[in-house]
């Protein structure tokens, strides 16, 4: 690595140094309480997957270039040079971390490993060593934001083809559009994923609740956040924020996508609209008797996987349980305390990388598979696209014999007038 490249990378590093990051970089005492926290370490046993070890890979570079110690006495804290080997190590740390923040539950200080992996991911982008697919997907999303007017007719035509399926689940009064778009002054803007499974059940429930809603033109997923590019994350986010402002909606409802929810809820700043997950909205409808569910539709024991970005990191913990209490009498918890629920092993962009990470995802989520197996359930519900894909893969790989389902589609299937 030449000196210019290194200087550029160090500039990227320092762009991440705010007060919280300094706390996280300075405070760790390497006490080892986090050893059992990470599902990758629990499943695979190697020390490099301990939360503090991952963080230390970033911290060593910090000590080398941002601390006097690194110059005067580098060996005392094992300050490390930023070179190609360090880049490889950063990749290994960042792309084996799903950003579930379970380690924050263990750490006596509450150090946020995901945030430090943010430095690692940004350095990887700077060194052009990030997974290319993620950058490509992020660029496509950004591009779509610029040219959405041209893709609009195709999108609307596509929605037309879904309308019958929506009406199958919930019959509307004549004259009303099953999947409305561009509704100015709508109470709720629903941001879905590309895929009928994310639109049809949601639309049926909105219609059943008599919601004044509108479907967003954009997909919720933020590949910029997966790859750890702050600029692209913001650009992708702003497409939706701009649309919500243009339509003057009161609420933006994010589909079952953990990253999209967390990014919109916590990173988008102050807006004239509120942000909620579809799980929160469904629980609200049920509590207000705006929709009713038939408990006989679901057969067998149901367990629920808390998506990390929605539950531990987003605070949506009671709502899915309330919905499930209205759906079935056979719900059981996988863990005593949802805070300790294992990550599915697919976050942080790993599922988006598909086959490339499949082997690692299966090995690193062994503990999750065991947790599911121990619950001995028929249906495994969840409320996140990534988790759903990963849990499906685990189901096949470990032959768990459960049916992996989206919570929203369970609600849609059980709707009664």
């Amino acid at each position: 690595m030449d000196a210019d490249t290194r200087d550029e990378l160090l500039k990227l590093f320092s762009s991440k140094l705010n007060r919280a990051m300094r706390y996280y970089l300075e405070t760790c005492t390497r006490c080892g309480v986090c050893v059992e926290a990470c599902h990758v370490h629990a499943s695979m046993g190697q020390s490099r997957y301990i939360a503090a070890y991952r963080a230390e890979i970033v911290r060593r570079i910090y000590k080398k270039y941002f601390k006097g110690r690194g110059r005067l006495w580098p060996s005392v804290a094992e300050a490390k040079e930023l070179n190609q080997m360090a880049i490889d190590e950063l990749f290994d740390a960042a792309y084996s971390c799903t950003g579930c923040r379970r380690c924050m539950v263990y750490c006596p200080f509450g150090i946020d490993t995901q945030m430090m992996m943010g430095i690692a991911k940004l350095l990887l982008i700077g060194a052009s060593a990030e997974p290319e697919i993620l950058t490509m997907l992020a660029d496509m999303s950004v591009e779509k934001g610029k040219s959405y007017e041209t893709s609009k007719p195709g999108f609307v035509a596509g929605l037309k083809r879904l309308e019958d399926d929506v009406v199958d689940k919930w019959r509307l009064e004549a004259g009303r559009t099953p999947i409305p778009t561009e509704v100015e002054g709508a109470d709720l803007l629903y941001v879905a994923l590309a895929g009928a499974h994310s639109i049809i059940p949601a639309a049926a429930v909105f219609n059943a609740a008599g919601e004044n809603w509108s479907l967003s033109f954009f997909e919720a997923v933020n590949f910029g956040a997966f790859v750890g590019d702050p600029t692209k994350t913001k650009l992708i986010l702003n497409r939706i924020v701009d649309e919500a402002r243009r339509l003057k909606v009161k609420e933006v409802c994010i589909c079952e996508c953990g990253t999209a929810y967390r990014v919109m809820k916590q990173l988008s700043g102050d807006h004239p609209f509120s942000v909620s997950s579809i799980t929160e909205v469904h629980a609200r409808y049920l509590r207000a008797n705006r929709i009713r569910l038939d408990k006989t539709k679901i057969r067998g024991t149901v367990i629920y996987h808390d998506p990390c970005q929605i539950a531990r990191n987003g605070g949506v913990i009671d709502e899915p349980r309330y919905i499930l209490s209205q759906l079935t009498d056979h719900y059981t918890e996988m863990t005593e305390d949802p805070t300790y629920n294992w990550c599915c092993g697919g976050g942080g962009g790993l599922v988006a990388l598909g086959e490339e990470t499949l082997d690692f995802r299966m090995k690193s989520a062994r503990v999750k598979a065991e947790q599911i197996q121990a619950a001995n359930a028929a249906i495994l519900a969840t409320a996140c696209e990534n988790c759903h894909t990963q849990l499906g893969d685990l189901n096949d790989h470990y032959e768990l014999g459960v049916e992996v389902r989206f919570l929203s589609s369970m609600v849609a299937d059980a709707l009664v007038p």
Partner: protein, 236 residues
């Protein structure tokens, strides 16, 4: 030799205290002046009021108690012991009434506090010598533990000598005389401090304590000041 002892007991104490105070302030100011993180960093479920729970987290380490109960016992013993030892040292400044609230024998605990702190430090050290904590550790972690152990063991030895073996040549009054003279910038070394059988203990104790103070602002020992604000971030 006299010059070396004088250097350790007088100029080096000033240097160490200066580095400790200034270094800590400069480092903290530098960190606190950084811009705030733009988004919340808390985890859920949340408990209110967040600041109160951040205090609980900072001073009682509930996550350690839950996941590493034995470590928690030693951590509590160590940190409370350290606090008592600091109070004990402050009480040596007899001129400051504010810190002489309850008249009692200095030091608190009759030697047991030092012993418990030393044992805790050994526990931390041996724990760090074994995997997986060894894999996480860097030399600094060992240096700090060894340094603190040396400070505590030599300091405690003086205390044990007085309270357990009735060694009377060098006692609290002499420490007081020496420390107060430093505080008022009129350094004076009583003969009992420099020329008795246990002077060696005191010089070594002060030497390692100086080293520890000099290292403090630049190491993870800063968690003493940063733990509360970090915990506050987690609580929201």
């Amino acid at each position: 030799m006299d010059k070396l002892i004088y250097f350790i007991l007088v100029p080096m104490v000033y240097i160490a205290s200066g580095v400790f105070v200034l270094g800590t302030i400069v480092r903290l100011v530098k960190i606190f002046r950084e811009p705030k993180h733009p988004s919340p960093l808390q985890i859920y479920p949340e408990k209110k009021p967040a600041w109160l729970w951040a205090f609980v987290d900072t001073f009682t380490f509930p996550t350690v108690r839950r996941h590493k109960p034995l470590l928690w016992v030693f951590l509590m013993v160590f940190h409370i012991g350290l606090l008592l030892l600091i109070i004990g040292h402050l009480e040596l400044f007899a001129e400051i009434d504010l810190i002489q609230i309850i008249p009692h024998n200095i030091f608190l605990g009759g030697g047991w506090v030092g012993l418990l702190v030393a044992i805790s430090l050994l526990y931390f050290l041996f724990r760090r010598l074994a995997s997986p904590v060894r894999d996480l550790s860097v030399p600094e972690d060992y240096y700090l533990l060894i340094l603190l152990f040396l400070v505590v063991i030599f300091g405690s030895q003086m205390d044990w000598a007085r309270s357990w073996y009735f060694y009377e040549e060098m006692g609290v009054d002499h420490y007081r005389e020496y420390l107060s003279s430093l505080l008022f910038f009129e350094p004076y070394l009583p003969a009992e401090i420099t020329d008795t059988g246990h002077s060696f203990m005191l010089v070594i104790h002060v030497f390692f304590a100086n080293l520890f103070l000099i290292f403090f602002p630049f190491t993870q020992a800063m968690h003493a000041f940063l733990s509360l604000p970090v915990n506050k971030l987690r609580r929201g």
